[in-house]
Amino acid sequence: MTFSSRKHRVSTQLTVIALTLALAACGSSTPTDGADSAAGEDAATEGGLSGEVLVDGSSTVFPISEAMAEEFMAENPDVRVTVGVSGSGGGFEKFCAGETDISNASRPIKADEMELCEEAGIEYVEVPVAFDGLSVVVNPENDWATCLKPEELGKMWEPAAEGQVTKWNQIRDDFPDSDLALFGAGTDSGTYDYFTDAVTGEEGESRGDYTASEDDNVTVQGVESDAGALGFFGFAYYEENKDSLKIVEIENSDGDCVTPSVETIADGSYNPLARPIFFYVKKEALETKPEVAAFVNYHLDLANEYLIEEVGYVALPADIHERVVARVEEMTTGSIFEGESSVGVKLSDKL
């Protein structure tokens, strides 16, 4: 730097100064904005509710919480709803430590998490909030895999398939002899837990040699670019990528081949890959914090059901919805799944 020409240095400095000023401009106006909106919040106390609602947990449920919180806060400007994403498991850890009011989960609470909550004396109400249909997709060039049985998916994904099942014709004899490449959710996610449970019968057990990612868009891109690929992810990702991927029908328990859609997920005919997603609300918060109760009721209000569909999930059918509302009103604590997974469980039977 010491021997660079003066002219050069001046121009560098000018650029730097300009940039600094630009940031200073952003920086100084930022707090003002905040102050303005804070003042606005103080002025508007129409709802009468105030306080904080602390939500954390699954990234699958996050878009629903975000949409609900956004609209809820527009109506109740004095309530502050914050949503974190630390995964279903991470969410329960905080929830059972008493750090959050609501915990989002893409799977039912597990037995060890129930114990953790019990030790801390935290009682909770389990609220199924929507359905998601795990969608199995292949490359558009794949013209053979139109309908697969869960057992066939199991054949591809089970731990024993590692290094062994590498060709499509090993799945079904009339499939061509082309390479099979698998893409899916990472092992930490509730999506992975559910999928493995549904197709291999063992929760969290699968082959290790597949492309795992916490970001489902990686699965989208992987399947898009590999003719022999197969992947799975939440329904919303399929909806957004319909044009570049081919959906695989799944043979349900009645022996019909079913495509995931809003209708088939809601009426239960898309099984076993349709799953309920949940949030768990602390009973104490529901009783003592009116803003938490209001937020939960906002979730369950039929007028807000459109928000669930807007972010790519399937709202609960009317009969289940009714029972969920009753459950919240009566503050029925505990989990209907008793620590087990939700695969093969009909919500309408259990509630």
Binding site: T20, R80, G84, E99
Partner: protein
């Protein structure tokens, strides 16, 4: 530099012919090495350019005043980055205020005051080791100590907890770079100072620090640049993802740019991917401003010496 620019090997007598062969070989080696280093630079620049053009192409359309001044939303077009930008600025200022005196102070003590004994050697090795610990480990530590044990002070999952966690993460880097800068100052200057009757403090303050300061500053800024991009430890200590107010004090909950970007990029809707690219541009701009600030400071200080 091309080989043709190089001076021709001089004609040598036949009895020194083995030198002649070696010489042309050495020139060739020189040229090969120059090409290799040039290639390294080209590859690095090409990668950076691809990355930048990709991100700018995707996100530049999204970066406008509305994007900078609104809070996140379920609707990609209405979503903005205000809470993340505010959180990042708050966090980085707090980190800088805590990490700079602590790190530079430790560095000066270890390099200038501490005696070279077993204890300082153990401390030294540990600091170097800490620089290589994965950031998520600091997140776990921060969760237990700053969020849970020190909750009355930090307010739990707050800016202060996040800042302290990041301070732990970058302290080793600041300490090591401070020591390197001090070590680069020739000992003759120290001896000259002592010979004139200056105390140790006077020598350090008047002689050594002004010379070492630009280096110390560079190290600190590099460390802060690392902290600004960290996601894992902050998710661990419970930084949020959806938050529609700006931090008001050190105990406020917060979100930072990398977390917001990560959240957007993993969403199914393409609109959010554009937002993520926009967020990356904002993050790059903040980084650039920070680094430029350091360059200005360094140039200013360098001229004084």
């Amino acid at each position: 530099m091309t080989p043709s620019n190089l001076p021709k090997p001089p004609e040598l007598a036949s009895d020194a012919s083995e030198f002649n062969i070696n010489l042309s070989k050495r020139y060739r080696l020189d040229a090969v090495f120059a090409t290799l280093t040039w290639l390294a630079v080209v590859i690095a620049i090409a990668i950076l350019a691809t990355l930048l053009s990709d991100v700018l192409g995707d996100g530049l359309g999204r970066v406008n005043w509305q994007f900078l001044s609104t809070f996140p939303s379920r609707n990609a077009e209405r979503a903005g980055i205000l809470s993340a930008l505010g959180g990042t600025i708050w966090l980085m200022i707090t980190v800088a205020i805590i990490a700079f005196p602590l790190g530079v102070g430790s560095g000066i003590y270890l390099e200038e005051f501490a005696e070279d004994n077993k204890l300082t050697q153990i401390i030294e090795i540990n600091i170097n080791n800490l620089a290589g610990v994965p950031s998520i480990i600091y997140g776990l530590l921060g969760l237990q100590i700053f969020v849970r044990l020190m909750e009355p002070l930090t307010g739990g999952r707050s800016i202060l907890s996040g800042a302290l966690t990041l301070v732990l993460l970058i302290l080793p880097i600041i300490i090591v770079s401070t020591r390197e800068s001090l070590r680069a100052v020739p000992d003759s200057l120290r001896f000259a100072g002592f010979a004139l009757g200056a105390t140790r403090w006077q020598v350090i303050w008047e002689q050594i620090l002004p010379i070492a300061f630009p280096g110390i500053l560079t190290g600190t800024i590099l460390a802060l640049s690392r902290a600004i991009g960290e996601t894992a430890p902050l998710i661990m200590i419970g930084a949020l993802t959806f938050i529609t107010f700006l931090p008001e004090n050190l105990q406020s909950p917060f979100v930072v740019l990398p977390i917001q970007i990560y959240n957007w990029i993993s969403r199914p809707q393409a609109g959010f991917h554009e937002n993520a690219a926009g967020g990356i541009i904002v993050l790059l701009a903040v980084l650039l401003v920070m680094n430029s600030f350091a360059v200005v400071l360094r140039n200013k200080l360098q001229r004084r010496v």
